[in-house]
Subunit: 280 residues, 2 copies
């Protein structure tokens, strides 16, 4: 089987590493609009050949889209226009509603499987690709009833091969949950980074005082805008209410602190501690 990876960054590259173990996987083709990334992915052995998109579409049985979500929404209808019977197209983007809406009613919609593996790091590019990144994590699969049975089977084979567990949701459910559990964390980390940098002595204090706690909380603020701006814009309808829910909790905490209300702060912290049980 020939697999084409469209996008050779952290996610596409990490998939390519672990998919070498897929029975029947023979040739890995790579496509990237960034020639440096394409060259580097070849050097690292993530893919066997770097090709143009047209060649990838004509040679590969399976096409995996691991590019920013605005690029997925634009490219996916064009790829479905020329998809062949038996070819399967997967996307791995962090939003699902805009992308699936972009192909609603397309005559070849059933060759496409919408997915979102819930794994990643704050780094990007082919050098960020890691073996085992997806092992034991969850992949959310959306609208499988709109994909052909053989396309679903191919997708599940691929996700199983890299160690992902399956969950099923509608695109709307996905985007609503992802806004709270993933996208909001990024907004918060970006704002924390900006606030700390706004302190006059940040350049002095951060390298000296930052322990593991700050580094952990702010880690996602290293995530790149090429990937994240399109996610926020596509999912603004869900991210804005998540931000507002968060701001409301911040204000409650601020009010308790301004009043030096220790019992109230205790209660808020005790409630926040319950996240332990949810994260297990």
């Amino acid at each position: 089987m020939t697999i084409a990876f469209i996008g050779l960054g952290l996610i596409g590259g990490s998939f390519a590493i672990d998919l070498r173990a897929l029975p029947g996987a023979e040739t890995f083709l790579g496509v990237d609009t960034n020639p440096e990334h394409a060259k580097r992915a070849r050097e690292l052995g993530l893919v066997d050949e770097v090709v143009e998109l047209d060649e990838a579409m004509s040679r590969a049985e399976t096409i995996i889209l691991a590019i920013p979500v605005d690029a997925i929404a634009k490219l996916l209808p064009q790829l479905l226009d020329r998809v062949r019977p038996g070819q399967t197209i997967l996307d791995l983007g962090s939003t699902k509603r805009a992308v699936t809406e972009a192909v609603t009613g397309h005559p070849n919609r059933d060759r496409y499987v919408a997915a979102h593996p819930m794994a990643g790091t704050e780094n990007c590019g082919p050098d960020a690709a890691l073996p085992g990144l997806f092992k034991g994590k969850v992949v959310l699969l959306c609208d499988l009833d709109k994909s052909a049975p053989d396309a679903c089977r191919k997708a599940l084979e691929i996700f199983h091969a890299v160690g992902l567990k399956f969950e099923f949701m509608t695109p709307e459910q996905h985007d609503s949950h992802a806004a709270f559990v993933s996208h909001l964390s990024h907004v918060v980390a970006y704002a924390l980074s900006l606030a700390v940098q706004s302190e006059e002595k940040a350049g002095y204090a951060v390298p000296r005082l930052a322990g593991g706690g700050f580094a952990s909380t702010v880690r996602l603020a290293k995530s790149n805008p090429e990937m994240w701006t399109p996610i926020f814009v596509q999912n603004a309808d869900e991210v804005l209410p998540a931000i507002d829910a968060f701001l409301s909790e911040m204000q409650t905490f601020r009010d308790a602190l301004a009043a030096h209300d220790a019992p109230r702060l205790d209660t808020l912290i005790r409630n926040a501690n319950h996240i332990k049980e949810l994260l297990r």
Copy 2:
């Protein structure tokens, strides 16, 4: 040398583990108001004997306070009342202004060294104690000119033995920087936890969707109120402006998102990415 550890949780316990390597360290005494923690610290071998505070003060040459900052501010003047020449008292609390003010002008002030090791985890109690927790991290030392030279030397020996690097600040500088670099991260993590739990389907979504990113951002929300409420209350004058700086950045981000202003979001994210260089 006999060392007494007042407080046998994460910080006191981790110090006890690594201080076994200190030349001349012989007997470790432990004091804890929680009898379960005291018993467990003895079982784990963190200390050699569990004793009452009075016995610890009469037998130990060095006394290390690793208890909540409100308890430090209350206890420290009482300990200085009865400190003997040659005895050294260190505190490891996360605020420094209220604690140092509590002993300003005390006739035995010079037997006390004010310190804050910038290391920890979200866990608590003797079972959370870890070897090597402080290795390569920074300890902030405040107002060393108010401590006797032999007390300073003893403190530096102890901090060096566990692998800490030294930085020097006034208590006011410490509390101002710590508000931004440490305390704010905790407020943000607590609010993120509360916001995500406020989502109707949190109990369903969090265990399924939470990848490493959310877990990292929310990690500090597991930190206990016994330790953190007193920190916030003591340092409210510095934490409130830090919260306001953060809320202002959140609002800027929210406004850009509500306007679907992709170039503005790009700029904000790019600026936030600079935290990479500060964290190194």
